[in-house]
Structure formats: C-alpha cells, structure tokens
C-alpha cells in the first residue's frame, strides 16, 4: 500500500515533467503547425529542415563547437589550477578558492554584464572576434571543473608522488604519470559539466556574442518572438533529437557501469 502510494506520487511528478517534452516529440513527427492544431499526417519535414536550413545548421554546429572548445580550455585551466592550488600554501589556496566561488554563486546576468563592460566597453575588444564569447564561457565553466577535481586531489595518496621521485622520476614525470592519471574521473566529469553549462547558457552568450552568431539558447529565444513557423516546428525536432541523445547517453552509461560492477564482483568471487 505504502509502496503503491509512493509509486503514484513519483509517476505523477514524472508525468508532469515529461508531458511537454513528449507532446512536442509526437508533434515533431507530424505536419501540424501548432500543438492542438490539425494534424494532416506523419512527416519528417521538421527533421529535414533541421539539416537543410542554413541558419539552423550553423547555429547547431556553432553551439557544439563553442561548448566543446570552451570546455576543453576550462578543463586545462582548472586542472592546472587545482593541482597548483592543492600544493600551494594555505593563504594562496584560500584566495583561489574564494575567487573560484564568485562565478559559481554569482548570477549569470551579472557575470555576463560585468565581462561585457570590461572586455567590450573598456578594453574595446570587438565582439566579432569571438574572444569575449569564449572568455565568457570559460569563466562560466572553469570554476565548476575546478570544484570537481579538488575532491579527487584530497583523496590522493601523497606518498605515491614521493615514491616516484625516489625511484628516479623527475617532478614533471611524477606529476603527469602518477598524479594526473588518478585525477581522470574528476577531470572527465568536470569536462562533461562544462559542456552542459556552456550548452545551457543564455545570459553570458547574449552579452558577449557577435551579432551574427547564435547558440541554441539565443536562437530559440529570438525564434519564439517571431512568427517563422518553419523554424518553430523544426525546433520541436531539435528538442526531440537532444532528448533522444540524452536518453541513449544515460542508458549506455548505466549499462557500462553495471557491466563494470559485474566484472568486479566476478573477480572478487
């Protein structure tokens, strides 16, 4: 009885979360121009538009390149920063920790606005150079990557580094061959987080992007203001595609982790 009740609650919440996404997904496969409107038949036109419409295609490719690029820069910066901070004295480490916390707690509007004032108004860097945009996204992502690496550093066994030095490794070798590999899980999850943050950002992008460049967020926001039905329904297809990618990703990572656990158990027994 109790279990049934909790199942009902969870089902209701899930339903509320997924109703909009699923309705859009269903409509994306039809030729309907609006939700609740007449459906003439099944069609894949929305998906075709996604690849044929130049503006849409460029926007998708641009968003992905920006996300991967800024995530890569963030990951390198944060990894070096976390390593350095971990081996620094208390005061400099605390200072970096505090500065690192600022973009985390700060509102994105404020981060974007302040960067825009500094880079574009005061330093006069052209928005078209993409430099403000990339810096903005790196500012947004790096602190989170840093925060996901620091716990791994705390778990680290310092003796391993010393042992490597005793066995004749140079400090650089010890760092890259002994310390860095142990941080890989934190670095990977930090990278993934950075990609997600960059993909989902709206405010920093609008304040720093070149006028002709759009990411998914700014594109969708502008598209909902206008009345271009073709683009609007193509966005349903985009949302469905992203949803499918997320589902596949979740399933694959789950299956992989289950297999890993199975292997571990078999090895132990």
């Amino acid at each position: 009885m109790k279990k049934a009740l909790s199942c009902v609650w969870l089902a209701i919440v899930l339903l509320l979360i997924y109703i909009p996404i699923i309705i859009i997904a269903v409509y994306s496969f039809t030729d309907a121009k609006m939700v609740g409107g007449s459906i003439g038949g099944v069609s894949l036109d929305n998906y075709a538009t996604l690849f044929k419409n130049e503006g849409l295609r460029d926007m998708i490719i641009g968003t992905v390149i920006l996300a991967l690029g800024s995530a890569l820069i963030s990951t390198i910066l944060a990894t070096l920063g976390a390593l350095g901070a971990h081996y620094s004295k208390r005061v400099p480490k605390a200072l970096i920790d505090i500065a690192n916390r600022v973009p985390v707690v700060n509102a994105d509007v404020v981060t974007g606005f302040s960067l825009c004032v500094l880079l574009i108004i005061i330093l006069g860097i052209s928005k078209d150079s993409y430099i403000p945009l990339v810096i903005g996204h790196v500012v947004l992502c790096t602190p989170f990557v840093y925060l996901s690496i620091i716990p791994k550093l705390k778990q680290l066994d310092n003796n391993l580094y010393e042992a490597a030095l005793d066995l004749g490794a140079t400090p650089a070798q010890a760092l890259f061959k002994i310390v860095l590999p142990q941080l890989i899980p934190g670095i990977i999850s930090g990278f993934m987080l950075a990609v997600t943050l960059s993909l989902d950002d709206y405010f920093i992008t609008t304040y720093t992007k070149p006028a002709t460049f759009n990411t998914i967020s700014t594109y969708v926001y502008n598209a909902t203001k206008g009345n271009q039905t073709e683009v609007k329904t193509a966005l349903w297809a985009l949302s469905t595609l992203i949803f499918l990618i997320v589902v596949i990703f979740v399933v694959v990572t789950n299956v992989l982790s289950m297999k890993k656990e199975k292997n571990k158990r078999e090895k132990i027994s």
Binding site: L10, L80, D108, V110, L118, S217
Partner: protein
C-alpha cells in the same frame, strides 16, 4: 603574487588560473563597482544609487522578483522533498536509473523545454497573458525542479538508517521520527537546493519573457539597461544583486554539510 612562488614548482601550476581569475572575475567586479558610482562622464556620483532606491519601478521590480522567487522555491521544495525522499528511501531496485529519469530533462536546453511548456500551456489556457504570475511560477518551477531534487536526494542518501531505527526503538512514532530525525538531518540538502533555485529564479528573465510575461525582474532590468547602453545603472543593479547573493551565501554557509555532520555527532 610573490606568495604563489613557493619552493615547489608544483604550486606554480596554478599561476595561469590565478591570473585568469584576477583578470576575468575580480577585475570585472571592480569595474562594475566603479561604473555604479560614476555617471556617463566618469564623475563620481551617488545618483545611480539614489535613483535605484527612490525609483518605484526598480524597487518594485526587486520586491516582485523576491516574491516570485520565494513562491517558486517553496513549490519546488514541496514537490522535490517527497520525490527525493521516496527515490532515496523506498528501496526501488534501479534507484539510480529512476533518479536519472527525474534529472535527465536538465540536459535539454532550457529554452527548448520552456518552448515545449509554452505550447502545452497555451492549449490549456488559451491566452497566456491572462495568467502572468501563474505562468511564471510554472515556468520557473519546471526549469529548476531538478536542481532541488538532486541535493535533497544526496542528503537523504547520506542519512544514517540506524538513527531512524534508534528513534523508533526509543518509542517515537513514524511522524516523530520524521520530525525529529529525518527533517533536521535533511537541512543541508534543503539549504543547498533552496540556493540553487532561489537565486537563479530571481534573475532568469528569459523564462518569463518566453512565457509572455510583461512584469520585470532584475535580470530584465539589467537586460534593458544593456540594450540602452546604460552601463552605469546596469552596474548599480548588478551590485545590488551581488549584495543579495552575498548575504544569501553567508546565511547558507552556516548550514553547510559540515554543520550537518556536527549535528549528527551531537
């Protein structure tokens, strides 16, 4: 900077990030502080400050956004608390997969999710502008719910089962076990969930604008000053927001996880 140069070369690895933080995190804050207290000609002035606190529009916006964010946060908490509790404590077999189901929508771009929500709401309501407040709350709740579920779920997962058993062995009924043990121990989760929902929902004007809401929140004020090239007043609002964020962070830091641990030991 000299302090960073320690005898180990390892600590110097953080130099690039330290420089980056100073240039693009600290300096921008100093810049908007300067802009907030100067006028267009660069003269020092309190005018932006005064006009912020005497202008009914800006103060009204701030209060409205606080109200909106508070209502959103409470509704998120009311939905997320039982959800996270059931997910973590009901002993479902594929607990983790179930949790992923609840937070997976987080990875779909929020503008796309809000578009989907808007389509559904317009079918239900007809004219969206008839219910501006309701739509804003629904939109923000829909956007931020996963951020409330996640920290609550972690805090329930950490909860020590033996404490619950001890409480019921000592004669507490289920209601009292919840009130005296579960609830106090989930405070860190509640606090971090509240910060993750309260502050963003105060400033995310995009969700509101996409749902055809004409009422402004501070985010939209900054946006309007940005579009009008009024850097000084935009900076003033940013500073006010920063102060609010700073206060909220100070308050929530007192309830962080360490505190929770201490309470467990006591």
């Amino acid at each position: 900077m000299k302090k960073l140069r320690l005898r180990f070369s390892r600590s110097q690895l953080c130099l690039p990030y330290a420089v980056f933080l100073i240039l693009f995190v600290i300096v921008p804050l100093i810049v908007i502080l300067y802009y907030a207290f100067t006028n267009g000609q660069g003269h020092f002035t309190f005018d932006n400050f005064k006009s912020f606190f005497t202008n009914a529009n800006t103060i009204g916006t701030l209060l409205y956004s606080l109200y909106l964010a508070a209502v959103t946060t409470i509704i998120c908490l009311l939905i997320a608390y039982p959800t996270a509790y059931l997910l973590a404590r009901s002993g479902f077999k594929k607990q983790y997969v179930l949790l992923m189901l609840f937070i997976a929508p987080m990875w779909i771009n929020f503008t796309l999710r809000i578009t989907a929500l808007k389509e559904v709401l317009s079918v239900l309501e007809g004219n969206l502008s008839d219910f501006p407040f309701l739509n804003s709350v629904i939109g923000l709740t829909y956007d931020f719910l996963p951020f409330m579920i996640l920290p609550l779920y972690t805090s329930f997962l950490k909860l020590d089962k033996s404490l619950l058993e001890a409480a019921s062995d000592l004669g507490a009924n289920k209601f009292f076990v919840f009130l005296q043990v579960t609830l106090p121990l989930s405070v860190p989760g509640i606090v971090s969930g509240v910060t993750m929902v309260l502050l963003p929902s105060m400033t995310n004007c995009v969700v509101l604008e996409m749902l055809y809401n004409k009422t402004y929140i501070p985010g939209s004020l900054i946006d309007s000053y940005f579009k009008a090239f009024d850097w000084n007043r935009g900076s003033m609002i940013s500073i006010v927001l920063l102060i609010i964020i700073f206060i909220v962070t100070l308050v929530t830091n007192r309830f962080s996880d360490k505190d929770g641990e201490r309470r467990t030991i006591l």
